[in-house]
């Protein structure tokens, strides 16, 4: 098993790697680390005594050699005791069966041994067969890594509560002794920054290196905390091996290497008990023997060692040792896929405690060893199907969507951008007209509507998320909601489709078809497991994305009501079939509504035109009207634009506009890495803007702004700062926010009767003038009734006629009814059927 490196007899599948390693390998100085030398009892890491190697190895190998590590013979029965010897090792099925019988190999290869001595002299170059891994060096390096590595800038969730300036993994070891879960997760990128060569070895020879790591950790752990009691020895689980990110990129060179890929679980199998060790008993003399399973095969003893009877050994099932195993099918995540192709799937095996850790539908990152095995056509035939079966033995799972229910997953969201890309985006951001450029790049096939596009652009960027829960003020929503209303056929749907295609987590629903259940979440019983499963709907699915709702006006009231919570609190409460929970739905809503009549009636207010409850409308930051402007210059440009669509070649179009991919990256980058804060100057500007808005209306007894509008302004200003990649909100951002907000208001909150902007149209559903008129009618009616003297009851119709006769303005039945209702609210009268009774 041990061999000189100069003669790497790699197995066929590792040919490529043997090639690359041999070039970069120089003899490494295996200097013993000063601080670890004292603890090192194992002679593996003692390079001074090569001659001692054999005997010691042979006696020690059972217990602590990585080569024999975890084999059942080293298992100690009974209750766990402390210390490395006392704690049972647990077989790592995830690493597969370790190569066999090191002693025999060594004796059979004395030539290479001696050759090693002669060539290298004092420098010890013993490596595991077929690799360049020197167990001693590797172990020592890893121990040094554990003892020294700090990650001051770590933002990982697991490291919360740890002192980032102290050695990270030593703290984790302390944690293990407290919690008692003997698993150490190690981030491979940490190893890479610490020692690139160790990292390379880990990636290339995980099957050999990980047991070495295990051994190193256990030695370190029990030296530090000799009194700890663990269920079994600590297992190292590396994750985030940066070698491979995508399932599609796997190729034959990755076989037997440590890889990390992301994907979605689509199927999990039942638990498969896999035999690790077979128990045989002689039928004649009741002699027991154990046989280890080697690569799926059991060598049945033909002769009883005790009584020499042939074929007397029988397998005893319930005394054999089994380990848990589960087959998991992983499918490429939809984001990773090129258009027009179907997703790939990979088979993954989970072992022992990783079984049942994931459920179908989970998005996970897995780290494991990629395996390939030849397939035999038929056990009795020598012909072999020339195809390998591939699978991944999983070592580490990491759910990527787990945290979505709790908080923002910075890590999972972070798209990796190359340096050039980032530089390119930053260069773009530095341009003074970046805002205009981006907005015109948005849905180029839709003509004009510049302000609407700008609004949507800001929505795509979103505001800054603020959390004031600690001061008891709760969360402030960062998402911007936009409603588009207007004539049918003004490409609202197209705009929605575009946005849906642009954002990674977009959802598109139509108000006509969707029910409250489809939007929120429902509980389903899994037919197989009889387990209740929460199925999430469009709003939850678009968490951190945009939910596009077409035909918003056609949505049933019931459905719409769930939006109230989502659009302000950004959560969704569910109480169904015994499941009560609150899901995050931090989604921006982009809705499109058609007027109730076929055409937009300019004589009516927005509310009257689209007949949506004002409570919902007030939750939209921006409400735009998409109307036919009907002016000649516009028509001309529109015609030009459309005709151009029809004959321009695709290259020309691309030249003119930023392409969609750049826009996507730009938004993704800004969303993850830019978090603007209000500057002093900007907050003054905002205050002024708000006061101004309030002032506009106050002169006429109207309210033209509410705190909600101020919040909208802040969000818009923040989003605009994000567009500029600025970490500070400045007054230009506020200016633009003000302008856009004013534009939107001008379109949607103008009182058609007076021509003034009146925000109360949106907040209360009625303009101030309309409310005033209502009051007047009610007062007139009251006067009329009072003038009639003491009549306890009167006819409804007669009262109506009287009022009409008396008033100079035309009074409709609706107005009359409303006035009656207002008086009834004052407890002045009641209406029963056709009679009006005074109280």
């Amino acid at each position: 098993l041990l061999n000189v490196h100069e003669d790497p007899l790699s197995p066929p599948s590792q040919r490529s790697r043997a090639h690359d390693t041999s070039t970069e390998l120089q003899p490494m100085p295996t200097s013993p680390a000063m601080d670890t030398a004292a603890q090192d009892v194992s002679l593996f890491s003692s390079p001074m005594a090569p001659h001692l190697f054999y005997p010691v190895l042979q006696s020690e190998v059972d217990a602590s050699s990585p080569l024999m590590y975890g084999t059942p013979s080293s298992r100690v029965e009974g209750t766990p005791r402390s210390g490395i010897r006392g704690t049972p090792a647990r077989q790592r099925a995830d690493l597969g069966s370790v190569r066999k019988a090191p002693q025999v190999d060594m004796h059979s290869e004395p030539v290479s041994e001696s050759c090693c001595h002669s060539e290298q002299g004092a420098g010890q170059r013993l490596v595991i067969w077929g690799t360049d891994v020197n167990v001693g060096t590797c172990k020592e390096k890893f121990q040094r890594f554990l003892q020294q590595f700090t990650a001051p800038n770590s933002r990982e969730e697991e490291n919360a509560g740890l002192d980032l300036n102290e050695p990270l993994y030593m703290q984790k070891l302390d944690e293990i002794s407290v919690v008692g879960e003997p698993v150490l997760n190690v981030n491979c990128s940490h190893i890479q920054t610490f020692d690139a060569d160790l990292y390379r070895q880990l990636i290339c020879y995980p099957q050999e290196v990980i047991p070495t790591f295990d051994m190193a950790v256990n030695e370190l752990f029990f030296d530090r905390l000799p009194d700890s009691v663990l269920e079994h020895q600590i297992q190292v689980r590396p994750y985030s091996a940066l070698k491979t990110r995508n399932m599609r990129a796997l190729n034959p060179e990755d076989i037997d290497q440590l890889i990390t890929i992301s994907g979605m679980v689509i199927r999990t199998s039942q638990l498969i008990p896999e035999m690790q060790e077979a128990f045989f008993r002689c039928q004649v003399c009741v002699f027991n023997t154990r046989v280890e399973v080697d690569r799926g095969r059991i060598a049945e003893p033909a002769v009883c060692r005790n009584c020499n009877t042939t074929h007397s050994m029988a397998l005893v099932h319930n005394r054999s040792a089994f380990s848990d195993k589960q087959m998991i099918k992983l499918q490429e995540s939809p984001e990773d896929m090129p258009a027009g192709q179907t997703p790939h799937t990979t088979v993954v095996y989970a072992h022992n405690d990783l079984v049942d850790k994931v459920q179908p539908g989970d998005r996970i990152n897995i780290t494991g060893i990629y395996r390939a095995a030849p397939m035999r056509l038929n056990p009795r035939q020598s012909q072999v199907k020339s195809v390998y079966k591939t699978h991944i033995d999983v070592i580490h799972f990491r759910k990527t969507d787990e945290k979505r229910l709790h908080g923002l997953d910075e890590d999972g969201e972070q798209k990796l951008f190359t340096k050039e890309r980032v530089a390119m985006l930053k260069e773009l951001a530095a341009k003074p007209d970046v805002y205009e450029r981006l907005s015109s790049a948005l849905a180029p096939s839709i003509y004009e509507h510049e302000d609407i596009k700008k609004g949507i652009l800001l929505q795509l960027f979103g505001g800054t998320r603020k959390d004031f829960t600690q001061t008891g003020r709760g969360n402030f929503r960062a998402e911007i909601n936009i409603l588009l209303c207007g004539d049918p056929g003004t490409s609202k749907s197209q705009l929605l489709q575009y946005v849906y295609n642009l954002v990674p987590r977009g959802q598109y629903t139509s108000g006509k078809g969707s029910s409250a259940v489809g939007l929120t979440a429902y509980v389903m019983k899994d037919p197989e497991t009889r387990q209740l499963v929460l199925q999430t709907g469009a709003l939850v699915l678009s968490d951190n994305g945009i939910c596009c709702i077409d035909e918003f006006d056609k949505m049933s009231d019931n459905t719409r009501s769930v939006l109230h919570e989502v659009m302000e609190q950004q959560t969704l409460s569910i109480a169904k079939a015994g499941i009560i929970c609150q899901l995050n739905a931090r989604t921006s809503v982009l809705a499109a509504a058609n007027p109730v009549e076929s055409q937009w009636n300019p004589k009516k207010t927005t509310i009257e035109n689209i007949q949506l409850p004002h409570t919902l409308l007030s939750r939209f930051d921006l409400i735009f009207l998409m109307l036919d402007p009907q002016d000649e210059a516009y028509d001309r440009r529109l015609a030009h634009h459309l005709v151009a669509l029809y004959y321009q070649s695709e290259e020309q179009i691309e030249e003119e506009h930023l392409d969609m991919a750049v826009l996507k990256d730009y938004i993704a980058f800004a969303r993850t890495s830019v978090h603007p804060r209000l500057s002093e100057e900007a907050s003054q500007a905002l205050i002024e803007a708000y006061v101004d808005m309030r002032k506009i209306g106050s002169g006429r007894g109207m309210v033209s702004a509410y705190p909600r509008q101020l919040e909208s302004l802040i969000r818009l200003a923040e989003a605009h700062a994000k567009v500029r990649f600025s970490s500070k909100v400045e007054s230009i951002d506020v200016e633009e926010a003000k302008r856009l907000h004013r534009e939107a208001l001008k379109q949607s909150a103008t009182d058609p009767r007076t021509g003034f902007v009146d925000i109360s149209i949106l907040t209360t559903g009625m303009s101030a003038t309309a409310r005033k008129r209502k009051e007047e009618v009610a007062q007139a009616l009251k006067k009329l009734i009072q003038s009639k003297g003491k009549t306890p009851a009167m006819k409804y119709q007669q009262l109506f006629d009287d009022l009409r006769g008396q008033s100079e303005a035309a009074i409709t039945k609706d107005m009359f009814d409303e006035a009656l209702r207002a008086l009834a609210d004052e407890d002045y009268l009641t209406v029963t059927g056709k009679t009006v009774r005074l109280l």
Partner: protein, 629 residues
Amino acid sequence: MPTVHDWINSPLGIVDGLFAQSISCPDWEKKVVEYFKEKLKLNDTHSWVPSLNDVPLHYLKPNSLVKFRCMVQDMFDPEFFMGVYEMNDPTSNSKQVKCGKYKDITEGGQVDFNSRNTVTSERQTFYCVPIPGESQWNSFAGTSQARVVPSTSYVPNRHKRSYEEDDEMDTQPQQMKDGSHGAQSSAESHGNIEPKRQETEAPSHDSSPSHCTSSLDLNFPLPGEKGPACLVKVYEDWDSFKLNDMLEVFGILSVDPALSVIADEREASSLLDPTEGMETVEEQKVHSPPASLVPRLHMLYAQPLVHNNPLLPSSVSENNGNYLSSVLGELASIRAELLTYLTHVLLGDSLAAEYLILHLISNVYSRQDVLPLGKFTLNLSGCPHSSPFTEHLYKVIQQLVPSSYRLCMSLHNMNNQRMVPRKDYTANRLLSGTLQLANNTSLFLDETQLEQGQLDATGVRNITALGNLISWQKVDYDFNYHQMEFSCNINVLITSEGRSLLPSDCQVHLRPTLNPPNLEEYLSAVQVAQVPSQLNKYRIYLSVARAVNYTISDEITKAVEEDFVEMRKDDPQSMSAEDLHRLLDVARLLSLSHGQNTLSRDGWMKAKQLEALRISRTPQQKCVNGNEP
């Protein structure tokens, strides 16, 4: 046949030969592909290669070169195989290095798994089906099979020659036969949904008992289709292929019976070997079906098909331009004839016939972000309810286009048919649906079959899918946990009584001027009257007109702008941006239909006239509550 055809009969010999030289030239793999490409380039050689579409599988020689015209229905996972392996020969006790490319199974002897010479390579498997909905006249669909006399001493070479001769000389009579056959079948009033075609039967039907097929669903997109399905193994550039691509694959046929053994043997052995049990029985069935039913094809070379019209040169090669220009001259006259024919079919309504032509040559030529350009979904309203009219209309269209499908929108169909393809995770395959169609397939939606009633959840989903298909030319395939969008290019024609409930680009209300006493007889007569050569002209015309490039000059652009502004001035309501869109579409298609590759002032005026005429007869339908048209 002389040895020249060794490359057809035993291509593996050539592969092995080139492999043997691999020591001297490391890029032998490229050489193999080059060799066959070179061979196939020579004038007619590709027609010598027997086609899997035409020739029943049991007549084809295993490990010979065959071609297959197909659509990629599903893509399986990539697989690793032994590209090069070493063999222990037990008799001579020597070792031999062999090539595993283009093969499913290792040959003889014991494979040495620990050999250093082993090279692991990667390949991808596509599940391919014949192009769905190919019309009966389309000789690629395999009508020639009828002429093959089954006999045990069948020699592929022999057939090839006769096939070749047939193609050269027999085209006319064959079409004649087709034409008369079509008329004949139309005379019988079968109310069947599936396209009437004489299909290549799955080879197993003759050779093996029927239980094989009943247990194995070959996963054709359209119900009632038959034909060979094939597992195509792709060795190079598999990323360049997309789902639903039409391909002509040249590859080595592999039907080793040993491949079929696995399924049975596996079940027994799975108990012993847990690693083998990772595939379910369903998955096993789908991914390694019996080779006699689903042969394997090791791709040497594949040609993407732009169209599947056999009457046109198949490739978009250099000489295509010449071909186009030669046909362009005749276009005008053929157009006039086609118009007359369609006018007769549409009961004397020439306007509807005009629009039908425009519809038939429409094609999504580009996409502007999400907006597909060039689609022209036609809604032919005013079709009589419960009459054979729509059925006959479909037959006429079927006669004209290479592939088509008639979807009766009956409640039963809407509620029960699987239209959107769905991923079946148990079997690990994409279950096909009726909307998984190749480019430029004509989808004929018969809304006259729809009656009042309840649509269930499936029905609503199907209607939404049809709506999306029409508006965005995309289908969202159902992957259970998420949906995936696949863009498509399908010509949708809707026949309905009133306005269709589905969106459409253009609605034409049928206004018959003829009222034949017996509609059925009349329509059959109209169809029979068309000589097959005439039909062929129409077929060529439709395919060619679609392929013409189109531009608009700056001058015309200006004129169109002026015109638009002018029209808006008079009555802004009558002319919206959407109307301009449609007008531009109509103008484009109208120019193309006349064989003009640019818009002329005249063409623009004609388009406007046509639109005005159409709008004048469309019953004024106020869109209520914003039900957008």
